[in-house]
């Protein structure tokens, strides 16, 4: 459902919305854009890893519980790399942990898709697939990044994500083409999540700056390959791509859904309640 601001805010206004750091605006220093972009990569992994880890001990079957924990562990590891580099490039002495645990929601740069609630197991898997399909294309492109550190992280992460995508695509296909109930659930999951996929391909000034510097591909350039993967998998899964064209946005610029606040309340509790502790 579109929120009031979604309806009212034109794209160009987004960067100037209150609570959003001005980095996203035109003319930002290239390092600032780079830091912002690294936070986007890191926060996607952090928030999705967090969501997936919520299943630990609660999955439908032991084998799946173990497999999902592997995915979450990969994502937490990738978070450490991306946010670690963000802190390094920023040069203010912030560590990956500082960035993860001491920023508030408006400073988070993840896409809205990854913060969507787990829902039933089907929704979790569908979210994973839609994200993995993008993540894979992104990491493939990033291995040619002009920044060596980015290329190295991408090369390591790409191996992990290739497996994530293989699994999530496989499960979407199997459940789509499973029982009547599993198909219905997967279709519903797809319908619910579809309006959160567009943001993955929406560029802004940060993306433009990193693309011009050869650090990262322009988001829109990943769309064709993503479309192809998704179309193939949905066809095999006997699922139907939703008709609607409306797409939510704002996560990349720090304007999130209500869900993120609760995630952070959980995640950051100890660091906030006991500042200066050693863990």
């Amino acid at each position: 459902m579109p929120s009031l601001t979604d309806v009212m805010t034109a794209d160009a206004d987004l960067a100037r919305a209150p609570g959003i750091r001005t980095m996203a605006a035109k003319g930002a220093a290239p390092e600032d854009a780079f830091v912002d972009w690294l936070c986007r990569m890191g926060d996607n992994c952090l928030v999705l890893g967090h969501r997936v880890s919520e299943w630990c001990g609660h999955s439908p079957v032991l084998e799946e519980d173990i497999a999902l924990a592997n995915t979450a562990l990969d994502l937490i590891g990738q978070t450490q790399l991306w946010l670690g580099l963000a802190g390094e490039v920023e040069g203010k002495g912030r560590t990956a942990d500082n960035l993860a645990y001491l920023r508030d929601a408006a400073q988070f740069r993840n896409v809205l898709l990854v913060e969507r609630p787990n829902g039933d197991f089907g929704q979790t898997l569908m979210r994973q697939f839609l994200f993995d399909a993008w993540h894979m294309e992104m990491l493939r492109a990033l291995q040619a990044s002009s920044d060596k550190r980015v290329a190295e992280i991408a090369a390591k992460a790409a191996k992990e994500v290739a497996y994530h995508l293989e699994r999530s695509a496989d499960l979407v296909i199997r459940l789509g083409d499973g029982t009547e109930e599993s198909r219905t659930r997967m279709q519903k999951a797809l319908n619910v999540l579809w309006p959160y996929t567009g943001e993955l391909f929406l560029g802004d000034a940060v993306d433009q700056a990193t693309a011009e510097a050869g650090i990262a591909p322009a988001p829109a350039s990943l769309k064709a390959a993503w479309d192809r993967t998704v179309a193939e998998v949905l066809a095999e899964a006997t699922l139907v791509k939703p008709e609607g064209t409306f797409q939510h946005k704002g996560g990349k610029q720090g304007r999130h859904t209500e869900a993120l606040g609760f995630i952070l309340a959980d995640m950051q509790f100890l660091q906030r309640a006991y500042p200066g502790g050693t863990w």
């Binding site: 084998e63 497999a67 592997n70 293989e166 496989d170």
Partner: protein, 94 residues
Amino acid sequence: MSSEWPLWEVFIRGQHGLNHRHVGSLHAPDAEMAICNARDVYTRRNEGVSIWVVQSNQITASAPSEKGPLFEPSNSKVYRHPTFFDIPAEVGHM
């Protein structure tokens, strides 16, 4: 309908070129998923580079009651083991 997934036996070959070794079992709806599950369950600590799975009920095992006739005859063939032979120290390593 019983939806219990069949049981599979998992065999893994480690880094050092040894034979595949039975490491345990798991449940999966089919062979392809059994391989995926085996990767996730049994190679978390870098244990393997190759996985075999076979559905448990497809394994034919030797009968425990025939243990004697099957395996004891080889007990007396001590000459198959290199330690059976005394080689003079003077001839060096053999």
